[in-house]
Symmetry: C2
Subunit: 191 residues, 2 copies
DNA sequence: CGTTGGCTTGAGAGGGCTCAAGGCCAGTGG
DNA sequence: CCACTGGCCTTGAGCCCTCTCAAGCCAACG
């Protein structure tokens, strides 16, 4: 399971084989069943998660009381509320398992220690963050430019297998529309 | 002018005084007048910019042919299309000066060289990217949760001086609404 | 086999858009 | 220094995309 993380590191930076175990020792493997919460809204966000298997989502409860998913994460992705994680404050988000999920968790102090000991990982995380940031901006672009129908089509064409993997109402909440409206769009596209 | 960059580095990592000049030599100071383009859509995005004075915006032309601003950047911010910058591909965005603006520019190769020579800057950029990413997610949250009126109010309450600094139609395009509708909101809030 | 959660359908409503026109101010050239 | 022009902001009417609300249906699960 843990090899996935080392493999992922190695896509970006060099890691000595002899250090692999030491690096992995900084992490805590955890398993969560479907719908379990990894981090709760309004609590301190102490952990950063690397997903080795499964799928997580990050959501908040909007003014109307409805859960809005702002992010999904699957195998080989990192997820946490970086703002709360870094500043050691309470988060506005909940991170929840969409499926049964295995993660490697690391807390802030261990992460700092790890980065101090293996500075090349600063580069790894810089690149990861940069990508995540770029992806987030692209997402904003789509939300600005596309109608609901186009957003769904775009998503479906680019991630067909993922669209099937998650419940429709979660996809709707990620695409920023009601489940009813998503249903209507799908019907329209079918015909 | 250039001291601003060193100062900014020093907020996050340690820099030896004796290295400051060497570091600054990696950068090229540039000045742009209002409405000048720093990077054009559909060209290679070779530079990363640190703003020492002024204000830039990043926009794309949407399907209807209208410019949509997806980001502003002011003093002490970095801006580029990281996706195109990192992958050396053409960008979908234009970066333009909102006011007369001074920047320090660095191209991809020089940045890599700089990071190789001063690895502590990997940490600096990791933290910068992490913040940018966190901010981008928060922005998405606001767009998901708030109505146009609330988005404007929120922006105005949090950045009153900035709201006055930029033209209204650019603010409208950043807030994802038409200038006409922004005008209507302002009228409503006035009364 | 009954209950519950998720998906679908449909009618009605409204937030935000489009289009078109008018007014105001700043910058430019004479 | 003044007139003119073009860009920006405002107003209003009409419309459409997407939401709300309410009901029905189906599959999964205890």
């Amino acid at each position: 399971m843990s090899e996935k993380l080392i493999e992922h590191f190695k896509k970006y930076v060099a890691i000595d084989t002899q250090h692999e175990t030491e690096i992995l020792n900084f992490f805590q493997p955890k398993t969560f069943s479907k719908k379990a919460n990894l981090i709760n809204e309004n609590t301190y966000c102490k952990l950063n998660f690397f997903i080795t298997e499964g799928c997580l989502r990050m959501f908040f409860v909007n003014q109307k009381g409805v859960e809005q998913t702002i992010q999904f994460a699957i195998e080989n992705w990192w997820i946490t509320d970086y703002f709360a994680f870094e500043s050691q404050t309470k988060t506005e988000f909940t991170i929840q398992a969409v499926e049964a999920t295995n993660v490697l968790a690391i807390d802030y102090q261990h992460q700092e220690e790890l980065l101090g000991k293996f500075p090349q990982l600063e580069r790894y995380f810089r690149l990861i963050n940069q990508r995540a940031y770029a992806a987030s901006l692209l997402r904003t672009k789509y939300l600005y430019d596309f109608s609901g129908e186009e957003i769904y089509q775009h998503f479906y064409e680019n991630y067909p297998e993922f669209a099937k993997r998650i419940p429709q109402h979660l996809l709707a909440s990620y695409l920023n529309m009601t489940p009813e409206y998503l249903s209507e769009i799908k019907k329209k596209l079918r015909s």
